[in-house]
Symmetry: C2
Subunit: 322 residues, 2 copies
Amino acid sequence: MNAITLKDNQLSLSNLSKPTLAADEVLIKISIAGICSTDLEIVKGYVPGFSGVLGHEFVGTVEAAGDAVEDPDWVGKRVTATINIGCRSCPTCMDAGVEHCPSRTVLGIHNRDGAFAEYIAVPEANLIEIPADVPDDLAVFTEPLAAALRIREQLRVPPSQKIAVVGPGRLGMLVGWVLSLAGNEVVMLGRRKASLALGQQWGLVTGLIEEAADNGFDFVVETTGNEAGLAHALRITRPRGTIVLKSTYAGPANVDLTKLVVAELNVIGSRCGPFEPAVRLLQTQAANQIVEMIDGRYALSDGLQAMKQAAEPGIRKILLTT
Amino acid sequence: MNAITLKDNQLSLSNLSKPTLAADEVLIKISIAGICSTDLEIVKGYVPGFSGVLGHEFVGTVEAAGDAVEDPDWVGKRVTATINIGCRSCPTCMDAGVEHCPSRTVLGIHNRDGAFAEYIAVPEANLIEIPADVPDDLAVFTEPLAAALRIREQLRVPPSQKIAVVGPGRLGMLVGWVLSLAGNEVVMLGRRKASLALGQQWGLVTGLIEEAADNGFDFVVETTGNEAGLAHALRITRPRGTIVLKSTYAGPANVDLTKLVVAELNVIGSRCGPFEPAVRLLQTQAANQIVEMIDGRYALSDGLQAMKQAAEPGIRKILLTT
């Protein structure tokens, strides 16, 4: 099968054999996969030593099940899957969750092949059924939408708080939309005017980050993953306000800890989120606008070109189809 | 009167006239003042452009009251004072508190003379009476003890959580003690064995920071104010754990944001705390051990030498007496 693989930091289109199944795994024929910023960071070396098939956002159909799979009815179903595979028995799995298991593997990110391929093997425990009323073009957004919803799992977001999302990109747009759903005023902040058009189209307030007022926001989500974005986030958060780091940071960054301490800010890292609520949201009428984030669609065999386009400024979601 | 002043980053023993009182202020004859790390950072240039009398930890007696002081009975009372003077009318004062007022002054820290002097002028609203059963040597710790208690104002600290305090110094010891009071296991972590003796004397668990296990603590308080201390704090905090930044950071620092995001840590800045609970704690038998932190006592006229000793490694509290 075709697959986009990374080996010795070299991205390639490879011809691999179909994955072999562990007893508790199913084989999924992938329909669509999405490229996200983490994939691009991995290629740049964010996860040192990652080697294998990239990709962790996908939708597909179960084709076969291992001997120990408990529910044979998975075969034939349209699914996506949560991306962390923990041991499910250590204290960290019990307490912080499988997303933090020290011996976890993560689809296309850590020690496990991902979804930029024709097939993927996934444990039954990770499967999430996609309802018939959610088309593939929306279902492929389940993972990043869950990541956006993670913020609401971690923190109370009072509806009267003024929210800024720094970075109106592929994840930032989903974060802004999710945080606007319960009545909050959400301002999408970008570096260039062109980046603000989609936010306006979605009915969100938009603004240039350079022009955002000091201490002007109660709750700020940083989605750019770069030092300049973080510096702006610190600048625009009011005393005792909250900053959510919702991005991938490659290595150490310079942070103004003086503001963090003097203004008693709360900074919280945020990663993978809940899939079932994401699927429920995708079933709503309002979610249909998400497809407006799709900026390109490539056959898997053109995956290298797709990765290149995904890395261009202003590009949001690029899809790979099989 | 004698005073330790800073002007153009130059520390001096100055001969000033007694402070003149605003209508809502009282004049306090200072008995003892304490040197803290913030004073040392200010001298190093942490607050650019600070000019005036240093010092914000003190105990003294009210000698006179301005015309608009509402309670004339303050005169003759032994007091300390909260250090932030806000406008008490702006939205930030109403919401985040006077400690965050954009036009605030802060005793000995920002646009207002402090307590390394024979007299200080303080608004009536800032006064805190010291009960007769709290001697001056303990009363002078009210401000830093309040700063330690601030952590419990900001965050829930479940008694079963394992806590580490990075830095067994003048503030770290108070933080460790306060956090141990409700049954938590608190480990004081230092760079040198000698720094751990007082923690052992106080019945706390102690350890060398280099030997502390990765991800070994639920709740970590960073009190060193340096990058190395913060790097250790990030290293030893478990996934979804909490780090409190309880120190003065001079400018930007390199922070490993990857761990912060991937492990979904919660980092919170922490500054000034509640004085009344601190005074109540100082009335307890257990608080008597705090005087063991006093490493030196100087006449105000020897204040420059006192500042020098306070900056030496391993030194905790240095007092100035008038």
